[in-house]
């Protein structure tokens, strides 16, 4: 375990063992989750020399979760070092507003990427990867969305600046703890071609409707042609 990892572990343990009421709960991430995310950023900083962090301001009108959720490669409670030790930094900044139950306004959230160099990732880069751009931070799984956004910053920065990635490692988690894949998804062809399926169904529907309509017209005409003529018809 590196000295930095040991420090983060101590910080996380201290936060977890804090006397009730002595430390304010983070508005979004749990202490352990924030510590893990900070460690991920610290690994990236060690490889790339770029500092990473997050700073999310939370306004909770109907609860008690007002506050700031922030952290960086320096630790789960420490902001990204804008001056001093890092020549370059990248920070995800955002805001979350949870309205009260009786408010007519909807919950809202947003996020942007702040940095001090022009080639830094943008929120559009993160969206290009299929990640939410910050609009879902207000949701129940906003903590997972926040973690996903922040964890993606080093990879996008590596691409843009031709910096090294953190080396891929086989899992070190015991097999009994690895778990099983869960969750079901649409068939891949349906996810890729749902619009073509809709078009096909529209064509089949329109063709079938026309077929029924014209068959009915043909039947009516045939029936009329077979009806004997009366004096009123002449």
């Amino acid at each position: 375990m590196t000295p930095r990892a040991a420090l983060l572990a101590v910080l996380a343990a201290t936060a977890a063992l804090a006397l009730p009421g002595a430390a304010q709960a983070r508005p979004l991430l749990d202490d352990a989750d924030a510590a893990e995310l900070a460690q991920t950023l610290a690994d990236a900083t060690d490889e790339q020399g770029v500092c990473y962090g997050w700073h999310i301001e939370v306004q909770d009108d109907g609860g008690s979760s007002d506050g700031v959720d922030e952290g960086s490669n320096l630790g789960p409670e420490l902001p990204v070092p804008i001056t001093g030790s890092c020549a370059r930094y990248v920070e995800l900044r955002g805001r979350v507003h949870w309205t009260s139950d009786w408010s007519e306004s909807d919950d809202s959230s947003s996020a942007r990427v702040v940095s001090n160099f022009p080639e830094a990732p943008t929120i559009d880069d993160l969206q290009d990867l299929g990640l939410d751009g910050g609009g879902d931070l207000k949701d129940d799984d906003g903590d997972a969305k926040l973690s996903a956004l922040v964890a993606a910053l080093p990879a996008v920065t590596a691409d843009k600046l031709n910096l090294p990635y953190v080396p891929f490692e086989d899992t070190t988690i015991p097999a009994a703890q690895q778990g099983q894949p869960t969750g079901s998804s649409l068939p891949d062809w349906l996810r890729d071609r749902w619009f073509v399926l809709v078009l096909a169904l529209l064509l089949l529907g329109a063709g079938g409707w026309l077929l029924v309509q014209r068959r009915a017209m043909a039947f009516a005409e045939e029936r009329d042609s077979k009806r004997p003529k009366t004096e009123t018809d002449t």
């Binding site: 352990a32 997972a144 990879a155 691409d159 490692e169 070190t172 988690i173 529907g205």
Partner: protein, 144 residues
């Protein structure tokens, strides 16, 4: 019979379109076979197996290309690379061994992929008992 020509044409086009949508879909494996160089099966320390590929684009560009061709059910990015999940497959796109403009793709079935990439997708795409389990997603459609 002329009155039935238009409905017949529409139905015919609908059947052809439906057949194309279902029958002519290329799998993500076929995409990697076409766009990258297959380098053989790899096995990690836990015995999980994956097909290896050397790809001609940087990891981010390759991830976007694969996503554009085959929309994944879920995607994750980490400082080590990009991970895409499909119904039956998982793809990891990592830095290549041939410079900055290359990448290495690992394609595994769901079971092997979850083990191979467990450090990065564990808990997000399935059950998990390791660190940070409290906020991980549990897979597409799996809820929190």
């Amino acid at each position: 019979m002329r009155r039935f020509a238009l409905p017949a044409i529409l139905i015919g086009l609908g059947v052809l379109t439906l057949g194309w949508a279902v029958g002519c879909h290329q799998s993500v494996r076929a995409y990697l076979d076409d766009h990258c160089r297959y380098t053989g099966m790899t096995t990690d320390r836990g015995g999980h197996r994956a097909r290896g590929y050397d790809c001609p684009k940087a990891p981010g560009a390759m991830a976007r290309a694969v996503r554009s061709a085959h929309r994944p059910a879920d995607a994750r990015a980490s400082p080590s690379g990009y991970f895409l999940r499909y119904r039956s497959d998982m793809v990891g796109i990592l830095p290549g061994r041939r410079g900055a403009s290359s990448s290495r793709a690992l394609l595994a079935d769901e079971r092997n992929g979850y083990g191979y990439f467990n450090n990065y997708v564990g808990g997000w795409w399935g059950t998990y008992s390791g660190p940070g389990e409290s906020f991980r997603g549990g897979g597409p459609g799996g809820g929190k």
